[in-house]
């Protein structure tokens, strides 16, 4: 009990250090629990929603009727015909109405009931934004419906009108479900078949077989949408992927920081108490009693920190989940609370921190009591780095600061690691913003010299409309890895709409087989290498030898001269599937399969950047707090460990400012170095992270960090450092001169 009182008093004497360690652990456990449980629950919801409501693997339209049941039997799949229609509700407001399906893409009811005759279900954000409640009347395309409930669709979880928009505006767009009979009465409906294969492997190959079978029956496919590439669905696994990646790395980095900090503090506590330990030892205390005493420190800190953190984490799960479900509405089946996760979040810090302390105290207790009572073996010891440093030609201030850093390597490494982590955290959001900015400015706008891309339902020949330029394209997958897919695009060799340049910035025309740098990187190929792919339309294999690499971040493309493309993919000479135009055009109904507006893509990405604002600021605030904790603790440690030197300097006539410059500024070098190392560490991590998002985002994000953001980050880090120093200045002022007069440092 007496020893326990000593633990509490020691902690109270150095409150900042121990509270700092607890805070780090709390943040770590909280993030671990919240992020893991959120991603686990989202994953569970997505899987269950996909399975229970039979999410399709593809949706397609044809120019002829298909016997869905027979077709399903032929391919061991569930096939159902339905439809969609974009209907105006008010000027500038569209509802995409789906016909209620029974076998594939079955709608779920969030609230209310499935629609009966003259009834309609709409999505909740659209209803709430525009003031519709269950039982209200809504007029769509001139027909009156009663709102029967709020709908959730497995094939339209992320509600956005098109993939170019990125973020939805509920005032302008929403989804709705009506019964099949009611759907037939709506104008402008497209018949859409949805297919879900029984065999859950090799989906793309099965899709190719279906397409081939349709063609062999003389049926023309007017539209094919693989679910893996449909942003309304593919964003969800991407978000889960982001969360689970972050939930593993960020809390572990925090835990590592907390362990490093507490290990360092325990090392110092035990070292400074060697006389006390020696005395206890000499008076008959056993090793295990002393070990138990010193293990109380990490035990208390880790249990308090991780239990409070985990509890906060559990409290935050529902809010986080609710927030995620506003963006990705899905049915809530049940909230999974994995107790093992909580046990892990509490036990891991306890084991790691107690293990580190066990090892440290074990080393000290091996020393003889007589030696310990004299202050231990390590007093005044000089490490290898201190001994090998030659600073003869440097000024005294530099020498002093360098010596301060090499005096305690554990403290220096902790500071370095802490600043690296804080830098990465702070600049993460800004890197994402820079990368999207770069992609917009240097990628899309640099590569394309047109405003609209129109893809026809059927391949055309002959001259394209005046002012436009024709192209042909095929969506292919790697022969040995169908998860990697990209477009092979046939363009005019003297194209004016696509601007390519090589790594040196020299422009060139796509007269040869050209691959974009990002795709080359992904496929790990260089000039002269071959790439074998299969056409996702018919499964036919094609091999291309890369001749040039284009330095662009606008996407994953392989460009071929149009004639060569047509010959390779079996199209007649001069055939083309789409055109690029500098202005908006109108076409006959059914002539166009899809339209892409470059301005809409840019605007969508711009909107996404705007939406990133809170995340970016949140990360900067978190990094500031983390940095402040670390810098304050380390600066405080420097002051504590330099008390005799500070006291001595005061006796020798050093002024406050001079002492501050020497002692408090001694970490400047490490803080700057930590920041500089944090940038490449961040860019490397972000590169790997962005690469994992490429498939779902359908765009390649280059990893870029604007110089201005780097400068901004540096200013924030230095301001945090100055703030921590300012907080420690009082500590320096409190060191009395009597400390040097009463005791010797050696």
């Amino acid at each position: 009990m007496v020893l326990f009182k000593k633990v509490i008093r020691t902690m109270l004497e150095h409150k900042a250090r121990y509270i700092g360690s607890m805070l780090l652990l709390m943040i770590s456990s909280m993030m671990f629990i919240t992020m893991n449980l959120t991603s686990m629950n989202l994953d569970n919801m997505f899987r269950k929603f996909s399975e229970r409501n039979a999410l399709s693997d593809a949706e397609f339209s044809t120019d002829a009727y298909i016997d869905a049941a027979a077709f399903g039997r032929q391919f061991s799949a569930k096939v159902e015909g339905g439809g969609t229609a974009d209907c105006k509700v008010k000027p500038g407001q569209t509802l995409r109405v789906f016909s209620a399906m029974d076998e594939v893409n079955v709608p779920a009811v969030q609230e209310g009931k499935l629609p009966g005759s003259s009834e309609i279900m709409i999505d909740r954000p659209f209803a709430q934004t525009n003031g519709y409640r269950i039982g209200d009347k809504i007029t769509i395309a001139g027909r009156k419906f009663t709102v029967s409930g709020y709908a959730l669709l497995p094939n339209f979880i992320y509600v956005i009108k098109s993939k170019e928009e990125m973020m939805n505006d509920s005032t302008a767009f929403g989804i709705a479900v009506v019964g099949k009979e009611n759907f037939e009465t709506l104008p402008g409906g497209n018949r859409v078949y949805a297919i879900r294969f029984d065999d859950r492997e090799n989906i793309k190959s099965q899709e190719a077989s279906v397409k081939n079978a349709l063609r062999s029956q003389g049926i023309q496919i007017t539209k094919w949408q693989s679910t893996a590439r449909k942003v309304n669905v593919s964003y969800i696994p991407m978000e889960i992927n982001v969360l689970s990646t972050m939930s593993a790395t960020v809390p572990l980095a925090m835990l590592a920081l907390a362990c490093a900090l507490l290990g360092m503090l325990m090392w110092r506590t035990i070292k400074s108490e060697s006389v006390v330990i020696g005395t206890f030892y000499a008076q008959g205390y056993r090793r295990r009693q002393l070990r138990r005493h010193y293990l109380t420190f990490p035990l208390l800190i880790s249990i308090i920190g991780s239990v409070i953190g985990s509890a906060l984490g559990l409290l935050l799960v529902n809010s986080e989940l609710r927030f995620m479900l506003t963006a990705f509405p899905m049915p809530v089946y049940e909230t999974i609370l994995n107790p093992w996760l909580v046990v892990f979040a509490v036990v891991l810090p306890v084991i790691v921190l107690c293990g580190v302390t066990w090892w440290i105290i074990g080393r000290t207790l091996k020393t003889a009591p007589a030696v310990l009572m004299k202050g231990g073996e390590t007093k005044g010891e000089v490490n290898f780095l201190e001994r090998s440093l030659r600073l003869d030609h440097s000024g005294f201030n530099t020498k002093f600061r360098v010596r301060e850093q090499v005096r305690s390597l554990s403290r220096t490494f902790f500071l370095l690691f802490g600043v690296v982590v804080a830098t990465m955290l702070m600049l993460y959001g800004l890197t994402m913003k820079s990368s999207v900015d770069y992609m917009l400015g240097e990628g899309i706008s640099e590569l394309y010299d047109f405003k609209y891309e129109y893809v026809f339902t059927l391949v055309k020949t002959g001259a394209p409309p005046a002012g436009t330029e024709q192209f042909n394209a095929a969506y292919v997958s790697l022969a040995d890895n169908e998860d990697i897919s990209f477009y092979v695009t046939g363009v005019l060799p003297d194209t004016e709409k696509v601007r390519l340049k090589d790594a040196s910035g020299q422009s060139f025309q796509p007269e040869q087989t050209t691959i974009t740098a990002t795709l080359a990187q992904k496929l790990n190929v260089k000039s002269g290498d071959s790439v074998t792919v299969f056409d996702t339309e018919n499964g036919k294999k094609h091999t291309f030898t890369i001749e040039k690499i284009a330095d662009t971040y606008a996407g994953d493309f392989l460009f071929l001269p149009l004639d060569r493309f047509n010959a390779e993919f079996g199209y007649p000479a001069g055939a083309y599937l789409g055109i690029w135009s500098g202005k908006a055009m109108t076409f006959a109904e059914g002539e166009i399969q899809s339209t892409k507006s470059i301005d809409a893509v840019v605007a969508g990405l711009g909107k996404m950047i705007d939406q990133m604002g809170p995340m970016v600021y949140g990360l900067i605030a978190a990094a500031f707090l983390l940095g402040l904790i670390i810098l304050y603790i380390v600066t405080g440690l420097v002051v504590d460990e330099s008390r005799t030197s500070i006291s001595l300097m005061k006796v020798f006539g050093y002024r406050k400012k001079e002492i501050g410059k020497l002692v408090l500024d001694s970490n400047t070098l490490i803080v700057v170095l930590g920041y500089l190392l944090g940038i490449p560490a961040l860019l490397g991590t972000a590169g790997a992270f962005f690469a994992s998002l490429t498939e779902s985002l359908q765009v390649v994000l280059p990893v870029k960090l604007n110089v201005l953001y780097m400068l901004f980050g540096f200013i924030v880090v230095m301001l945090t450092y100055e703030f921590a120093k300012w907080m420690c200045r009082k500590k320096v002022a409190r060191v009395p001169m009597s400390e040097a007069l009463k005791a010797g440092t050696e």
Binding site: K379, G380, E381, V382, E386, R387, L391, D392, F396, N397, K399, F400, R403, E404, V406, R407, T644, S645, L648, M649, K650, V651, F652, G653, Y654, R655, E658, M737, S738, A740, L741, A743, G744, T745, E746
Partner: protein, 232 residues
């Protein structure tokens, strides 16, 4: 007179009781002389030296060093006084353990107006071969030599030595005392030493014996003994 102390009083409050450490001390020391303050533990000799060194303040009385009245100086001016005029030597050397010999000396030369040449100082204390060593790698005597070098590098007017041989053996103590005498004679530095070793008094021009915060005896020597001849 280089140092004039008149009716100096100092007391410390310890809880409700007041501990009178100096009870009206008066002493003088001429420029270039060596003074020794002798006394047992608790006699007030360290407090007296701290006040003369500008590290502590008196309750009443006056302290004048080289014409400067210390009791009238502000904190900043007192800092300037310590910085420019006083060299300190401590019983336990007070070297910074992670600085080399040269760097420990530079700790003071760094803030001095006209420091002596580093090699001259190292040569004077006989440590030119150890200038890259760390304190831990030196013997007690060598460490005290570094402390002396650090004190004299600024070429101070006054050298204050607090039990400079208190932690050293007989042989080493002689070496350190000889060095202090050499500094006193060579640089003309006024030396004020506190000790409880009465034999050291023989090398001083003036010896003040302190007991219970009062000077009980003042002895002036016409001739001082060479440090190496002192026996105890």
């Amino acid at each position: 007179m280089f140092i004039t102390v008149e009716n100096l009083k100092k007391s410390y409050q310890a809880g409700e009781s007041k501990n009178e450490v100096l009870k009206g001390i008066s002493l003088t020391l001429e420029k270039g002389q060596t003074g020794v303050i002798l006394g047992p533990s608790g006699s007030g000799k360290s407090t007296l030296m701290n006040i003369i060194g500008g590290v502590d303040r008196a309750d009443s009385g006056s302290v004048s060093v080289d014409g400067m009245e210390l009791t009238a100086l502000s904190d900043d001016r007192l800092t300037d006084y310590r910085r420019d005029s006083v060299g300190f030597i401590f019983q336990f050397y007070n070297l910074v353990p992670n600085l080399t010999v040269t760097e420990n000396i530079e700790l003071v030369s760094n803030i001095s107006k006209a420091p002596l040449d580093m090699d001259t100082v190292l040569n004077a204390v006989g440590l030119e071969m150890k200038k890259r060593s760390f304190p831990r790698e030196l013997s007690g005597g060598e460490q005290q030599r570094v402390a002396i070098a650090r004190a004299i590098v600024k070429n101070p007017k006054l050298l204050l030595c607090d039990e400079p041989t208190g932690a050293l053996d007989y042989e080493t103590s002689h070496g350190v005392l000889s060095l202090l005498q050499k500094v006193n004679r060579g640089f003309g530095t006024t030396v004020l030493m506190i000790t409880h070793n009465t034999a050291i008094g023989d090398m001083a021009n003036v010896v003040y014996k302190l007991r219970g915060g009062e000077i009980v005896e003042a002895i002036r020597h016409e001739e001082t003994a060479a440090a190496e001849r002192i026996e105890w």
